[in-house]
Each structure stands twice: as structure tokens, then as C-alpha cells.
């Protein structure tokens, strides 16, 4: 049975739990696969370590947490250090190149671009950095189509912010593919 494991990690307040929820929703509601999203975070509202995990499968999912990670997003140096060790051989590590400067070594493909700065400068609002990251993860993992992921994004954000999020998602998707090449 196919089982694909993603982890979105960084600091509380970066919107990583939301990014994980949208990825799982895209798989579960729009792609017709099965998905489970779970999270762990500290008691703080902002700051502190935060992670969101998504398991995607063609069949029923038992254990809802990551066993061996296929794709990891690390939005802080701490997260990159802590979680890159259980990345699968041949897996994908996506990092924000401004925040993770000490790039972990391993048998996985590392893709780096300035995620937060893309949101701030190219999209126009830092707050959508999580959607930039999500677009990138969708492009790099291939678990859901670009169209289904975009549907999940747009159905998860308030009306007034649809264009902003659409742009953030596209920007992340394209930049990740360019960075990987």
C-alpha cells in the first residue's frame, strides 16, 4: 500500500498547521485519496516549535504520524536540524534559504529558496509565506495535482484574500520547480 509522509515544521505562528491541513484536504476531498493530518505544538500561541504531519495513501491509514518522512519542510534552522534525520533516502527537504543556512547533509534532495521573502516581496504579504511553502511542497511531492491543491487553498481562505493566496500558491509552486532544476 502506498503511504506518503509529509512534515511541515518550523515555529509557532508561521501557519504550518494550516499548510498541512490544506495539503491533507486537497488529497482527501479533491484528489480522492485518503489523508490524515495531525500536529504537535507547545502551549505558546507564537514561537516555540511547531509541526504538522500529513499522511497520504490510496487506502486506509492506520498510524497517523510520520514513521519515515518522504518530504520535509523546515522553516527554521532548529526544525531542519531536528527532523532531517528521519528523512527517507531519496526524500525531499524544502528549506527557506534565508532561515536555514546550515544545510543538513543526507541522502535526500534539498530544495532551497527564500520562502518568507517571496511572500513579502513578490506576493506582497509576509502572512502568506505558508501558502508559498505549500505551493512548493505540492510541486515537489506530486501527491496532489496543482489544480486540486489550488481548489483546497481557495476553499480554505476568506473571500477577500483569494487572489492573494492564489498568487502565493502559484509563486511557491513555480519557484520550487525552478529551484529544483
Amino acid at each position: 500500500m502506498s503511504r506518503y509522509e509529509l512534515r511541515f515544521s518550523g515555529a509557532g505562528g508561521q501557519g504550518l498547521i494550516t499548510a498541512g491541513i490544506i495539503m491533507a484536504k486537497a488529497a482527501s476531498i479533491y484528489e480522492g485519496k485518503q489523508a490524515v493530518q495531525s500536529q504537535s505544538y507547545g502551549p505558546e500561541a507564537r514561537g516555540g516549535a511547531s509541526k504538522s504531519e500529513v499522511i497520504i495513501s490510496d487506502g486506509p491509514i492506520d498510524y497517523p504520524k510520520v514513521t519515515q518522512c518522504d518530504a520535509l519542510l523546515a522553516m527554521t534552522q532548529e526544525a531542519a536540524n531536528k527532523y532531517s534525520h528521519d528523512l527517507k533516502e531519496g526524500g525531499v527537504l524544502l528549506i527557506d534559504s534565508d532561515l536555514v543556512t546550515n544545510i543538513p547533509a543526507g541522502n535526500f534532495k534539498t530544495v532551497a529558496f527564500p520562502i518568507i521573502n517571496t511572500a513579502k516581496n513578490d506576493v506582497g504579504r509576509e502572512i502568506v509565506a505558508n501558502i508559498v511553502a505549500l505551493g512548493a511542497m505540492v510541486a515537489l511531492t506530486g501527491q496532489v495535482t496543482r489544480e486540486n491543491a489550488e481548489k483546497a487553498v481557495l476553499s480554505s481562505v476568506p473571500e477577500a484574500f483569494i487572489e492573494l493566496n492564489r498568487k502565493a500558491f502559484s509563486m511557491g509552486f513555480d519557484k520550487a520547480l525552478a529551484a529544483r532544476a
Binding site: 491541513i21 505544538y41 492506520d62 498510524y63 504520524k65
Partner: protein, 377 residues
């Protein structure tokens, strides 16, 4: 027509399950990791003419749902460990006064404030022994978002059928995990109504056993007047210390559950037919166990899982039968050995009971269970 689907948390599913079951009153006090139940109820209850109230504390919240239930409403409160401790006095009141209600308790690290965002399964004993005195206990332990929805409906049904508080206790992982849920159509899942009196108000007694072990309950405000107390009582609801009445009433209250174990106890058997090692698990831990059983099978080990869906009353009969035919029982749980004690009681020394106990806020992973399965000789 295609059924309505959504992608949501266990907590959110619990609230929607309560609404399906006909809940019209929620009294609570927010606490991580159960707050989403209250959030959904605060939005949804007014839409169906129900009432949501945030009380001054957990004790007040428990009192409010008992009062609302006596006025005829189906009622829910939600909480977590520290809140459950505070509610215990009035849970006992609900048991002796025989007031239907559902307590949804999300298990987090404890004791006391413990680890508010960390998962745990350490309230399962509190579900039975948390309030003092002999009393009936029903506690359901769902393992998925869909099941949380369905088990909350079943909890309402059992509380009405047996006129007693019922607890639903997911661990934090199940409560906060998001999965796809398919909503049943109205009428697709049975909803049990409260048994109302068939006699006129002047003949009514709230604990009239001529109607069986579960007497009908009138709603305050419907013309029926009766006395409610936490003291041992007679059939008319007034206190008594008369030995034979107290003995008979206490026995009846406990018998409501004990005599109906087969109606209440539910479980799932996974690959048990030829199993030599059985992993007994509940809640999110059962998902690790299922994964581990599959891994063990791939390695040629005859492992299976018995998943507890109803923790109280405990599935004594089923565990005793298993103990007669397997070589060992493995019990992974996020506490220091609570279900393990019950399994040892049922196994009566016939087979070893090997525990994996974790209270560090991390889930029990499948590898740990596979290793333990291999220890059974």
C-alpha cells in the same frame, strides 16, 4: 444524492455528532485540548434553537448540564483532565440521581495541569473510579474522526437508555487529528429518545421500579413535580437511610449497566482467527497497533489486535476467552499501566501481559509494538 463530506478534527466531529443525536444544551468551560467542541457548539446550537453557555468553571458547567437534562434537554459538556477532576463530584450526582448526560473528555498529560497539548490515555481509570461510591460507568474510546462522531451519538443513546452519565474519551491525537468524515443522513443512525412517564403527574415517581430498572424521567416544567437529591433515595425521590431500600437502589443503579454488558460493550477484532499474540489497544494507540500487526504478519508472526471501543464496562468476557487461546497479550497505552491492570485481572495469570507505557507526550510508534510482540514466546 451524494452524502455530505468534510475534512475535520475529532473535536469538531464530536460536536456535530451531538447535534445529530438531538443535543440542545451545552454547558462548558474551555480547556485545551477540547475547546473546539465548545467552539462548534457555540456556533451551531443557536441555529437549532439550542442553548450554549460558558460557565464560570467546570463544576458549574457540569451542574448546568444536569439541570438542563432534568428540564428535558439532551446535554453535553466537554473538558480535559483537570476539568474532569473538578466535574467528578457532580458526575456522581448524575449517577445517583440518574440524570442522562454526556461528558466528552479529551485525554492530555496529567496529573493536574500536566501537559496541556500532549496526548495521553491516563483518564480511563478516572472514568470509572473518579467519583466516589459504587456507581454505573460507561466510557467509550473512539479511534478516528468518523468514529468520534458515531460514538458521541451512541453515548447519547446509552445515556438515555440507561438514564446515566456516559463518557466519551478520545486521546488528544484523535481529538485534534483531521480526517475525512462522511455525515449520515437523518434517520440513518438510530437516535434513542428519553422514556417519558406514562402516568399522570399525581401518580408519578421518578424512581418507580415497577417500570423496570430504568424508570421513566419526567421533564421539569412539564407539570410533573419531583424531588432530586444526591442522598440515597426512595422511589419518590426523597432521601432515606432505610437499609433494605438503600441496598436495593444501589444494586439497581449498578445493575443497569452490569446486566446489559452485551448491549453496551463494543470492540473490533483484527486478524485474531489464528493469532498467537494479541495486541489489545484503544484510541489512537490502536492505529499504531494495527500498523504493527501488519508488520509482524509480514515477518511471519501470528499477531492480531483486539481493539477496545467501550472501555467501561470492560470487555471481560472477550479478554478471558482470548487469554485461553493466545500465548501472550501486548498492551500499548499512553499511561503507566491502566488497561494493563484490567487485562491482568481478566487473564488470571494464564498468559503474560506485556505493557508498553508511555507518558512523555509522544505517541507509541509501531516499531515499539513490533518489538514487544517479538518478546512473546
Amino acid at each position: 444524492m451524494a452524502k455530505k463530506v468534510a475534512f475535520m478534527q475529532g473535536n469538531e466531529a464530536a460536536a456535530h455528532g451531538a447535534l445529530y443525536a438531538g443535543c440542545t444544551f451545552f454547558g462548558g468551560y474551555p480547556i485545551t485540548p477540547s475547546t473546539e467542541v465548545a467552539e462548534v457548539m457555540s456556533v451551531e446550537l443557536p441555529k437549532v434553537g439550542g442553548k450554549f453557555i460558558q460557565m464560570e468553571d467546570e463544576i458549574g458547567a457540569m451542574a448546568s448540564i444536569l439541570g438542563a437534562s432534568l428540564a428535558g434537554a439532551k446535554v453535553l459538556t466537554s473538558t480535559s483532565g483537570p476539568g474532569l477532576s473538578l466535574k467528578q463530584e457532580l458526575i456522581g450526582y448524575g449517577c445517583i440521581a440518574e440524570i442522562p448526560c454526556v461528558v466528552f473528555n479529551v485525554m492530555r498529560g496529567g496529573p493536574s495541569t500536566g501537559m496541556p497539548t500532549g496526548p495521553s490515555q491516563s483518564d480511563v481509570m478516572s472514568a470509572k473510579w473518579g467519583t466516589h461510591g459504587d456507581h454505573p460507568a460507561i466510557c467509550l474510546v473512539p479511534a478516528s474522526v468518523q468514529e468520534t462522531y458515531e460514538e458521541v451519538i451512541r453515548a447519547f443513546n446509552l445515556s438515555e437508555k440507561y438514564r446515566t452519565p456516559v463518557m466519551v474519551m478520545p486521546d488528544e491525537i484523535v481529538a485534534h487529528m483531521r480526517e475525512r468524515i462522511v455525515f449520515p443522513e437523518p434517520g440513518e443512525i438510530e437516535v434513542v429518545p428519553r422514556k417519558s412517564p406514562s402516568v399522570p403527574p399525581e401518580q408519578y415517581k421518578p424512581y418507580d421500579t415497577s417500570f423496570g430498572d430504568v424508570p421513566p424521567l419526567a421533564a421539569f416544567g412539564s407539570g410533573y413535580k419531583f424531588h432530586v437529591t444526591g442522598l440515597n433515595k426512595m422511589q419518590d425521590g426523597f432521601p432515606t437511610t432505610k437499609a433494605e431500600i438503600v441496598q436495593a437502589e444501589e444494586e439497581r443503579q449498578v445493575r443497569k449497566v452490569d446486566a446489559n454488558v452485551d448491549d453496551i460493550v463494543t470492540f473490533e477484532e483484527y486478524m485474531l482467527d489464528d493469532a498467537e499474540v494479541v495486541v489489545v489497544a484503544y484510541g489512537s494507540t490502536s492505529r499504531s497497533a494495527r500498523y504493527a500487526v501488519n508488520v509482524a504478519r509480514e515477518q511471519g508472526i501470528k499477531a492480531g489486535m483486539f481493539r477496545i471501543k467501550t472501555f467501561w464496562p470492560f470487555p471481560d468476557k472477550q479478554i478471558k476467552a482470548l487469554a485461553n487461546r493466545v500465548k501472550g497479550i501486548v498492551i500499548p497505552e499512553m499511561n503507566l499501566g491502566m488497561c494493563s491492570l484490567e487485562l491482568e485481572r481478566c487473564a488470571q495469570g494464564k498468559v503474560p501481559v506485556l505493557g508498553i507505557f508511555r507518558v512523555d507526550g509522544e505517541p507509541i510508534n509501531p516499531d515499539q509494538i513490533v518489538e514487544k510482540i517479538k518478546e512473546v514466546k
